[in-house]
Symmetry: C2
Subunit: 313 residues, 2 copies
């Protein structure tokens, strides 16, 4: 008998990434969608369509796991979401009905940190955190070996630690949250500011040509040796480090796993963060700061694990 | 047979508070010491002298519990301390030797949160945090019903969450930590700034007369209706609120207990904090923010509980 296969869907703030995943965590088919700006119904429609696309080539899947950037209730309701129009949506029930398949739903980074803890960069740790740097910053916590959810299931929102009390407004309604200062979006903003200050630089020319600078471009230029771009990434890395100081001082985990699209910047981003952490964290240096083992796919694999675990029990 | 009695000692950054405590948590005799500026040997000498003072009237005590503002190892070593000269001091062994009594040692606010959780303001909660606002800000966490200590025992330092990434230096070596902005000391600083800006105010006259403004004076004036003082307390309360936003978003506890000397400011401090929390925290309003049931004595009672629990097992 062939092993169970499931579909894992990581529904990020800007894009959806899905795949058919087997019990060995091998990904057989992938699907991508860009959806920034879609309304609620359009967002749900895109999710269904993406699932149907991969299901067409893998009709044997036994269920679908979803990681969504929301506060998710135990019944699979998306109670509130900063980056998708999914406030108060019975996401699990809707998907089960539209897909005619068993579905499991959790917060995207709660799912991702399970994948990294069980098979990836946080393997063997009793206490681990994950931050996924993308449109915003998602967070997930493993405390004493298990996902920590708090009193209402809303815990782990590391992107919404306040790191700049009088800072810029955050899409969440707060001020000076870490995600405003250290997300993938923030790398793009730092690059845009550098481009404006230096119009004859590579960043400046890109801004003139395209009218906007995305974080991925800043990262590419930084990797190619562009000093201005590297400096922009470094400035964001230092702010990420301030967030990691809070994580260390409050949670004292063994490892902080950094994932999401922005971790493509690698040590250009993580080394400045580590420097701030070591200089400013309490006590002896000890928390490792490592990139996600599964890169940008931890969320999709974690979503698949929801379905693999769920279909076994 | 009379119930067991123990000595509980709360060793704060500015003062020591101790007492003889019985199994019903009744305090029979108290002892106070001010010790700001004492060096390591002097600090240890004051601790021993304070214990001997109360022991003289209660020679039947079966042990001593200490809450100290340090990272405390399981063996009772004070590994590092921001506010007392107790880095790398085998505190438990030293005290056991000098006192000839069984001793138990923990971080001061880890002890305090147990007292508040078991008998006080956090009773019945599965997830609770405590912040003790004094010279600095100490923190303690109850997660899933138990003290959460992290990988190395250093967790719960809520005063050293970074809330102002480019903010003023903190005694811990970091920058912009919550304790710089929202401790009892910070209330004194806010009062001093107000006094300088308004030399003919009550605060201004106090500054001229005494050369310094302490947080307790600002609080007294605020309670007496002085608007400038109330505004200073309010500004600190709002920054405390930013710290509570981080606590809510990361840990999602049912209740945050605010203790330490500065909680004498009561709702003048807590209401602005609650307003910021409700306006800026993720999800529906839910985390209660309450003063410590035991006021400034949670730490002493928690320290006594260490000894009461320890002497029973």
């Amino acid at each position: 008998m062939p092993p169970n296969r499931v579909i894992g869907i990581d529904a990020g703030g800007t894009k959806l990434l899905g795949g058919v995943v087997d019990e060995d965590l091998v990904v057989h088919n992938r699907v991508h969608r860009l959806w920034r700006g879609a309304d609620r119904e359009e967002t749900l429609r895109i999710v269904v369509e993406a699932v149907e696309e991969v299901r067409a080539v893998a009709p044997d899947v036994v269920g679908v796991g979803f990681g969504i950037p929301s506060l998710v209730s135990p019944a699979g309701v998306s109670v509130a979401s900063v980056h998708l129009p999914l406030d108060d949506v019975p996401f699990g029930d809707l998907m089960a009905e539209r897909l005619g398949l068993p579905v499991w739903v959790d917060n995207d980074v709660n799912a991702a940190v399970v994948a990294e803890h069980r098979y990836g960069a946080a393997r063997g740790a009793s206490h681990a955190v994950m931050m996924a740097l993308g449109t915003g910053i998602g967070g997930g916590l493993i405390l004493d070996g298990r996902v920590y959810r708090g009193a209402t299931g809303a815990a782990g929102e590391l992107g919404h630690m306040v790191v700049d009390v009088d800072g810029p407004p955050c899409p969440c309604g707060g001020r000076g949250c870490l995600e405003v200062l250290a997300s993938g979006t923030a790398i793009g903003i730092a690059g845009t500011e550098a481009a404006r200050a230096h119009p004859r630089s590579a960043l400046g020319k890109a801004l003139e040509a395209d009218g906007a600078i995305r974080g991925s471009l800043v990262t590419e230029l930084a990797h190619a040796g562009d000093e201005l771009a590297a400096e922009a990434v470094c400035s964001v890395g230092r702010r990420l480090g301030a967030g990691l100081v809070s994580v260390l001082n409050v949670l004292d985990p063994e490892v902080a796993v950094i994932g999401g699209g922005a971790v493509a910047a690698g040590d250009l981003l993580l080394d400045p963060a580590r420097e701030v952490l070591i200089a400013q964290g309490l006590g002896p240096p000890r928390m490792r700061v490592v990139p996600a083992h599964f890169g940008g796919e931890s969320g999709m694999l974690g979503a698949a694990l929801l379905a693999l675990d769920g279909s076994r029990s």
